[in-house]
Amino acid sequence: MLFLLLLIPLAASLLFWTVKSNRKVINIINISGTSALFAVSLFILKEVLEHGKITSNALGGIFYIDAFNGLILFTTTLVTLLVSIYSTGYMNTEYDRNIVNHSSFRLYYSLLHLFIFTMILTTITQNIGLMWISIEATTLASAFLVGFYNNKKSIEAAWKYIIICSVGIAFALLGIVLLYYSAFNSLGNTLQCLNWQFLNDNAGTLHANVLKIAFIFVVIGFGTKVGLAPMHTWLPDAHSQAPSPISALLSGVLLNTAMYGIIRVMTIVNKNAGNSLFTGRLMIILGLLSVGFAAIFILVQKDFKRILAYSSIEHMGIIALGFGISSALSIFASLFHIINHSLTKSMLFAASGNVYLKYDTKKISKINGIIKVMPVTGTVFLLGLFAITGMPPFSIFTSELGITIAAFKEAKYLAAGLLLLFLTLIFAGFTSQMLGMFFGKPHKDHGIGELNRITPVVLLIILAIIAVTGLYLPPFLEKLINSARDIILQV
């Protein structure tokens, strides 16, 4: 079962090369692959909800799913499904405009599925070494996607992306080595020592200080990938330069998987220390730093995709803060926030992609009257902005409120205050910068109407999801999040 998760995208990404020049087939492979993936993940989710966890015995049981990575997996597959559907519309439009030729069209999908493969590998393995490998692999797989348009900016973005992420990741590897070393010292058993489940069970026997320094390296390493300030620097460039579906995947899924890695290590360290003081401080500081940086940049940003990118940094910061506070409420909220953020943000990137294709610019100042030109996209985009800035009734409001309240409950008044301040600034930035795009009349005639039929549908679906979850959390999700929280809290 678990292997299906890996086989489907891998097979898909290979299958594309068999297709000669038939775009329809490619789209079919693409969508069927991701939907099959989603179906499998749903099935697995059911299993998880029933039995609590699934382990495959192959390769010394390095594949393992419990509520926590089940949650991440669910988000991943859901978002990938939606994004892949969206990207058929997107890429077709680009193809029709001869922005991409056939071979690069095929390359795109092949790499897309490879990218998905690596991310899923990250989520479902329990071997930290393997996790590291797959996270590094995500960088490599997506590097070409970021540099897809192969113009100056995109290449620069890709270079920065790959260099900075690889450097960061290398430090994560060092951290993992130290983790392994501490386990190796006390437990001796070789392969198991990278098995976070195993490490977690004997966390008490590990050496505290080694764990701490290992955690430092892991936070820096994976934090680079998550986009925590000040290691976030690659993120705006990559997100703004990649094709919109890829940006959606990057901020909707990739960041989560990296965050997942951090949290897995954090649980071990916390269990070993018996409290979350050391890790909590780091996470809170980095989180607040990220939110603050994001606030600064959003206030004066001129490029709407970059604004969205910075808001990804912000939300990763909020999530990190939530995990840093590490009370039951905050962790619940953070987990919920992960889902909300990936859905909302991918929706926004999708919408921005439509806008970009329509207006052929990323400059906010050059865009007017989206609502008139593209009714559905415009409306969804506008609502999405309110959602991402944490307005009710959308789900992000709920999770952000949860984190804030948790911060107050844990008597972290300074953190909470700063968070609220930054959120206000960010809201101000978003509204003052972007609201102008939606109204007024466009500078030149772009022709009324959506680009194609597919993309609006996707947007509306996501909008519906976030609106509903904002008001009512489906019980299975709640159960999932709760058990994931218990895993992280070690209760």
Binding site: E156, I162, V167, A170, L174, V177
Partner: protein
Amino acid sequence: MEEIAKILNIISICILISTFSLVASKRILSYLNAFRIQSILLAAVAAIYSVYYLVAEGKLEGIIIIFFMTVALKVIYIPKMLKKISLRVEYKVEKDFFINIPISIIICCGLVVLTWFTVSKIPLMNNGYNGIFLVQSVSVILMGLFFMISRKKAIGQIIGLLVIENGTFLTAMLLTSGMPMIVEFGIFFDLLTAVLILGIFVFRINETFEHIDINKLRNLRG
């Protein structure tokens, strides 16, 4: 084990020195040489381990494979490839560093000291050679990063990245005599692909920007 540790210590010190020489060197070709030396020393570490296991426990550990891979990749293939790339894209030799050499050497010394200071806080590290090993390997990593910071050209950055990887491997081998096999393979695989992709990008940069001076890639700001 004791004398093995002695030898390893000597080797790792040599690696450190080689890293210093890397930081001190000015030309891309000399980077490559320094890196090659470093990789050879790394391979030597692997070799020593494997030999030790062969002698002591009479069985062939997986670490021997690491030895071969290191030799194949880091000593032979990657430097060759990078050399090829640099010859292809390097039209003229120009100053390639922000910080001049003596100062960077001093900074690197500072790094070593800081690392030592930090590691000395870990009581576990104070027995045997582990502490020294950790100090050496971590400072190699940091110096690799510093090297990346201080060099303008793309090739320099690739090499810096590779040095960081080397340092990590060194840590792994010195402290734990090598990670589990599958992980090692994965890491090597990643490393290889990373270098390949970076190489391709160097070409792309070269053809779109007519140079590989990363410092001039500043279109995406703010």
